[in-house]
Subunit: 285 residues, 4 copies
Amino acid sequence: MSRRFVLTLSCPDRPGIVAAVASTLANLGGNILESQQFDDPRTGRFFMRVLLEPVAGESIEEAHLRGAIAAVAQRFEMDFDLRLADAPYRTILMVSKFGHCLNDLLFRWRSGGIAMDVAAVVSNHRDLEPLVASYGVPFHYLPVTPQTKAEAEAALLTLVEELDVDLVVLARYMQILSDGLTQRMSGRIINIHHSFLPSFKGAKPYHQAYERGVKLVGATAHYVTADLDEGPIIEQDAIRVDHRMAPEDLVRAGQECEERVLARALRWHCESRVMLAGDRTVVFS
Amino acid sequence: MSRRFVLTLSCPDRPGIVAAVASTLANLGGNILESQQFDDPRTGRFFMRVLLEPVAGESIEEAHLRGAIAAVAQRFEMDFDLRLADAPYRTILMVSKFGHCLNDLLFRWRSGGIAMDVAAVVSNHRDLEPLVASYGVPFHYLPVTPQTKAEAEAALLTLVEELDVDLVVLARYMQILSDGLTQRMSGRIINIHHSFLPSFKGAKPYHQAYERGVKLVGATAHYVTADLDEGPIIEQDAIRVDHRMAPEDLVRAGQECEERVLARALRWHCESRVMLAGDRTVVFS
Amino acid sequence: MSRRFVLTLSCPDRPGIVAAVASTLANLGGNILESQQFDDPRTGRFFMRVLLEPVAGESIEEAHLRGAIAAVAQRFEMDFDLRLADAPYRTILMVSKFGHCLNDLLFRWRSGGIAMDVAAVVSNHRDLEPLVASYGVPFHYLPVTPQTKAEAEAALLTLVEELDVDLVVLARYMQILSDGLTQRMSGRIINIHHSFLPSFKGAKPYHQAYERGVKLVGATAHYVTADLDEGPIIEQDAIRVDHRMAPEDLVRAGQECEERVLARALRWHCESRVMLAGDRTVVFS
Amino acid sequence: MSRRFVLTLSCPDRPGIVAAVASTLANLGGNILESQQFDDPRTGRFFMRVLLEPVAGESIEEAHLRGAIAAVAQRFEMDFDLRLADAPYRTILMVSKFGHCLNDLLFRWRSGGIAMDVAAVVSNHRDLEPLVASYGVPFHYLPVTPQTKAEAEAALLTLVEELDVDLVVLARYMQILSDGLTQRMSGRIINIHHSFLPSFKGAKPYHQAYERGVKLVGATAHYVTADLDEGPIIEQDAIRVDHRMAPEDLVRAGQECEERVLARALRWHCESRVMLAGDRTVVFS
């Protein structure tokens, strides 16, 4: 059975990149199934994603493919990433007490809707342990106080290493991560912010939205950086609200939005469709 | 031919308001076609809008109706407004150089889509004079400099009085009105802000949105207050954008949104569907 | 503690209905918190929904209230329904093998997002039994073949009676109910149709949508009638798709839509916001 | 000043296409700014769109480029089209009495929002002549009766030839074109259908939608084929409606949808982003 690869790359823009990449892949017997590219005028960089399979009846050895791409990459000063297309991202989901995103993600994962392996769920509360148990997923209770925060983060990092985790998802995890942790896992932590960033940063955004009398509330999935609420945005959506809705109604409406936005961002990330372009993202959705 | 009335009212919430209003109208031979109400827990006030027609074969005299309502209003400390349902709002549209909202509003007005009379168009530039002329609407060129601003606003107020104007619409008018003017015409000036307030206040919101890498851009129609970009929101909407779009593409996408949002806000205002509840709005859409 | 009531009613339209209802409620010490009404020109009927609470410090006896309303109802030839506002609808959820709607509804119910009691889950397959068990809800396996269909429906009706059920929800239940059953439970069975009715009726709608090359797929929640795919529509929504999506991608996109649409329809039904107006619905959302 | 080209091509899918195209363009000094491709499993064909500019300081001669591509095309049995990216599509807009789409398109064209040249407006009524005149565009009145239909279509074809027209847009033109005409101009006539196809084909779709009690109405832009209402769909959208809306309200809501859908379809067509894949479209939006 033939194996598919996903190649993502970025480099300073200059002529001949597509020709060089496409020729290299063709010479190795690779058939390009999907290809998307983007010239970013803002950063001057070129971004590309290729889905590749061996020509019918053939196979491609990964090491061989990696070597050939590395040679092109050196010539064009490329960063690149090569993955087997069906290799799921190893993921830790982190939650506090709100379980709507967790429930949605676990169900989608089990139904095959997101190309991830949920290696563990980590929480600073025990409320969602039964839900996690019903999916047979290990649940790690890591309570966080000002005194235990460093310890909890160290335990998290140990889990990340022991479980060979690619991605941490803050699925309504209500603790702020330290700068050290976010830098160390840069581009590998996704947060769902329960607001339409950059509006209503900080605490209780739906109550802020209520006070301001907005007619839409939204949610934002973004990579986590040291600068809270300011990481590169992956996906956003909004939902209509009206004057009759109390803050708790806005919360409920917003939670629907959060679920959808986080699920989309996660699906795209786990198909290697999201690339960082400075403090913005390129999403080859 | 029977005439319909629109009654809007608000007062401190207490029992018996609906019974008192409905009985008064029934006793005068009025048939309630539409009725909407809202108890605002935030302000403790009750809001109501009624569309009324005379019972078949009868007619209702406006002065008589107004008197009967005034009696109820006094009892419940009500503010109320009574209008003939088919009496269009006399409107001045103000623009600068961008004509997309103006073009959309003039066409809708001519097609009967908004219950207004466009009494005049006022602009600080001459660019849109031909478009206005093609609709046979008077065009007033009132240039604004720091030196002439007071004079231009005085001229505007004169027009408002002479033309018996109910409503001024800033359909991408790029000048800031003075506090005096906004206070004097409180609740009677609608602005379209080319951003999803409260995000990206101030100048060049689409460029700000581009820099931030958002995945939605929006627009906000609101009443104008002295506090710029902070007036009560009537309507908002948003539209998807992506990494490939340059600032000028965001501008184009946003303009579609502006048109729709302003047209909806204006349609609702001109059907007496929008009421002020402190710094928020009640929209009986 | 004061108890709230929801009153819904409909009758031939004529003057004085609102005044009569509002006065009756005011005389009993009832304060109207919400009121919505609609004159349907298509059927000539008037529809009304009232949310009522006793005036502060008082209480209203249900029998007393019911009697007073019955008197008004007789005068105006009204159908009416009176419920305690916090009395959840007793509900049976029916499923086959697709569990996305079931998972979503169970989680929302547990989180308090829908005012129902899930009395049981009924299925013609065993696949979803573990999910149901994790919520502690009784699961009834009622397999259906042409030979056992009558028997299975009889068993369902027995459950409806024994469990005092108000509502049956077909949350992707892939069997057609008999005419006898649908007539007997008219207005009390809600189905989610995995298509944007009236497009793509019948089997495999997403494959039909793929073949037609549509750019949106949708879902429809409706009351079940003998005429399959033709019952009164409660709610619909649609989601963008494109040429790159295979039928299975349309299925996934459509399932998101189904969840949202069914949850909204069910929430509104369980707040007594949906009324039948012939073969259409009035939704006081 | 350097000139950009848009290349679109399709051919039976096989390995090496991207490499061959990209190398050919690179050898001629072309820099690929955008590239999108799609392997259609349904038809077994490969589709590609490339936006190309000469390497800085160079220029590419069109004939030279065309020759080089033709050589590749022969090898891969390709259909291809090469255009200067800034060459507007020469367009005839056809209307009857509803002017909302016409007004929207003329304004967008004048504002630079659609890469077309409006060569003429053709109508079977005189109602919209003043609007067209205000844009300085030639207006051709071609009345249609059963007796004059052939003559009117002949006159249209003469205009298409004399004005060197690439595209005919039926912007709410209420006459059915003959099979001969649609075949002759296959892929070059775009219609806006005032319904969410395949629902509510035929006449008065909004009245049909009202009777059915749907909660969304939509619009569909499609290429015109002999089989009315069945041509390849380019774009669709939908808008929420509710029980309170009369048929004329659905018409108004639907017209907003029609404007947006037709403008998007036209913008994409005029940027060579739409390709035919059998009876479906590939839209590289």
